[in-house]
């Protein structure tokens, strides 16, 4: 089904896929640095986290031309010369819940710079299940929560968005039709990297080992610099020049092996330890990394240092995928607020503890009911709990109290009870300049599975 990768039909022997964004909010400089730092064939931009879709859905409800990752427009603008003149192709799941609107914005920016003739936008749709949700439930697809087993009907009236995670096939199709900017909705992060490798090397849809290799290449670079020295614990003090950190690039080969590297002259470090840290990030059962395209086996991965800031990855195996797609559903799940105050030496911790007791007693006397109240002492035990051991007279402690519950008014009232402690609670308190905590509506994540056959993706390449 794939078309030859080049006009002559000869396959490339080497394809470079650069990661330019690990999440929506990642470094704005990264996409441009990836195309200007050296030759690359593809720029891969990952924008979607689990709850991003619901934020985008809310934006689309307010304005039907919204609902996509707006950062992507600026990113494309920053790399337009590379797309239009140097043949770099861009693949991104920036379409969110509105890929056509995202495409229109990209077309407008190409027109503004007089290169619309050189930008061929491929749009992948079909992942959005929200308009079909009631039909699907009625048709015998309960969309039960993968963690709790509850049927979706229990929260149906609070659902904000529902999107199937889709794989590489529609992206490969868009590339085959000549698109040089491919925009998807909720495609998997890993498919954004695997698709160009599959397209260029013409890997068959059942060549499980190679597809698995492409998926693992995607997993390694999908979090941007997190495999090239960012958030790296191993020898963190010895990692050079993080200010100038190089984002990772996959140099793929037809046999499924690949090298992770970064542009020369950039900071950070690509080493077996840095890549291993990223491989285990968010890992479940390592033998079964399930994607729509293939199940990849992380116990088959071999790594070797193949030069400075180059790690070779080989030996990867995969097996056929399941008959299901994962569905990312977001629903309204009540309200929360989190507030903080800082207590200083002497006796910083006992003061913060007393403030917490006073606050809780007042909430109690007001008869406020919450699903949960959580108190943390930042600087003492917030992240490691009792494992942190005894606090030794810290210079200051941040009291951090959060509440959540279905009743917005109760959460609102909590935010009014915290700050008065500055004048009517224990002494030596500061750090309240931010004022009252903000009440947030909780949009929670509901993972489910659906029969693959009911999800049909569509690919359109805009003329």
């Amino acid at each position: 089904m794939t078309t030859p990768a080049t006009a002559t039909g000869t396959r490339k022997q080497l394809v470079r896929v650069a990661s330019g964004q690990g999440f929506w909010g990642d470094w704005l400089e990264a996409p441009r640095r990836q195309v200007e730092g050296g030759d690359v064939d593809y720029l891969m931009l990952d924008y979607l986290a689990e709850v991003t879709m619901s934020i985008l859905q809310k934006q689309k409800e307010r304005d039907p031309n919204m609902g996509y990752a707006r950062d992507f427009v600026g990113a494309v603008e920053s790399v337009l010369p590379a797309i239009a003149r140097r043949g770099v192709r861009v693949i991104a799941n920036a379409g969110g819940v509105n890929p056509p609107a995202c495409a229109a914005a990209i077309r407008a920016v190409a027109q503004k710079h007089g290169v619309s003739g050189d930008v061929r936008i491929g749009v992948v749709t079909g992942d959005d299940l929200l308009p079909r949700l009631d039909d699907l439930i009625a048709g015998g697809h309960p969309l039960a929560n993968m963690e709790t087993g509850d049927a979706l009907s229990t929260v149906r009236d609070r659902v904000l968005s529902a999107n199937a995670y889709i794989g590489s096939t529609p992206i490969v199709e868009a590339l085959g039709k000549g698109a040089n900017v491919v925009i998807t909705g909720r495609s998997t992060d890993t498919a954004l990297t695997m698709a160009p490798l599959r397209h260029e090397f013409q890997w068959a849809a059942d060549d499980w080992d190679k597809l698995a290799a492409g998926i693992i290449a995607g997993h390694i670079i999908e979090c941007g610099a997190q495999c090239s020295g960012g958030n790296c614990l191993y020898d963190w003090q010895g990692i050079p020049d993080l200010a100038n950190v190089g984002y990772p690039i996959v140099e793929g080969h037809p046999d499924g092996s690949f090298v992770i590297y970064k542009h020369p002259g950039t900071g950070g470090r690509i080493s077996v330890p840095s890549v291993t840290e990223q491989l285990v990030y968010e890992m479940g059962d390592p033998r079964s990394y399930i994607t729509p395209d293939v199940i990849a086996d992380f116990t088959s991965i071999h790594l070797e240092q193949a030069g400075e800031n180059r790690v070779r990855v080989f030996g990867i195996t995969g097996r056929p995928p399941t008959d299901s797609l994962k569905v990312s559903i977001a629903y309204r799940a009540g309200f929360k607020a989190v507030g903080t105050l800082v207590y200083s030496w002497p006796d910083a911790l006992p003061k913060a503890e007393l403030a917490d007791r006073v606050l809780r007693e007042r909430l109690d006397r007001l008869g406020l009911k919450f699903e949960h109240i959580l108190t943390e002492f930042v600087g003492v035990s917030a992240t490691h709990g009792r494992l942190a051991g005894e606090a030794h007279d810290p210079p200051e402690v941040q009291l951090r109290v959060g509440v959540r519950g279905p009743d917005r008014a109760a959460v609102e009232r909590f935010t009014r009870e915290l700050i008065p402690l500055v004048l009517n609670g224990p002494p030596s308190v500061t750090g309240f300049a931010g004022g009252r905590p903000k009440v947030e509506e909780i949009v929670a994540y509901w993972p489910a599975l659906i029969d693959k056959r009911v999800v049909q993706t569509r690919v359109e390449v805009l003329a």
């Binding site: 689990e50 709850v51 963690e147 958030n231 614990l233 191993y234 020898d235 003090q237 010895g238 470090r269 080493s271 077996v272 330890p273 291993t276 840290e277 990223q278 491989l279 285990v280 990030y281 968010e282 890992m283 479940g284 059962d285 390592p286 033998r287 992380f298 116990t299 088959s300 991965i301 071999h302 790594l303 240092q305 400075e308 799940a333 929360k336 989190v338 949960h372 959580l374 943390e376 930042v378 917030a382 992240t383 490691h384 709990g385 009792r386 494992l387 942190a388 951090r400 959060g402 509440v403 959540r404 909780i442 949009v443 929670a444 994540y445 993972p447």
Partner: protein, 128 residues
Amino acid sequence: MNVRLLDIAHARSGDKGDTANVGVIALRPEWYPVLERYLTLERVARHFDGVIAGPVERYELPNLRALNFLLHGALDGGGTLSLKTDAQGKVFSTAMLRMVLDIPDEEARSLRLPGTKSRRAYSRSPKE
């Protein structure tokens, strides 16, 4: 001999719903068998007792000299529901590395495992 996990391994953690995963990686290839033998499911469950609400799962990746642990019920509901500072389980990795393992003296000596007073292996000789 008491050996701090921090001195023989590095780690990264992340989340999947209300579950935190912690990947623990041997600092030197020859130290991986120590992790395999002594960083047991029971030992990790005991370490996080009272810190997490659910059970622990353990997976081996000898090819990466790593173990992967799933800590269920670790994130106060996880994602946007969680009220925790570490709602995404980003630093369960370092909480894991606080563990002190009791390794038989002879084994510790033959593998040149650092005692609790030594400096970390990678502080001495970064190879890359």
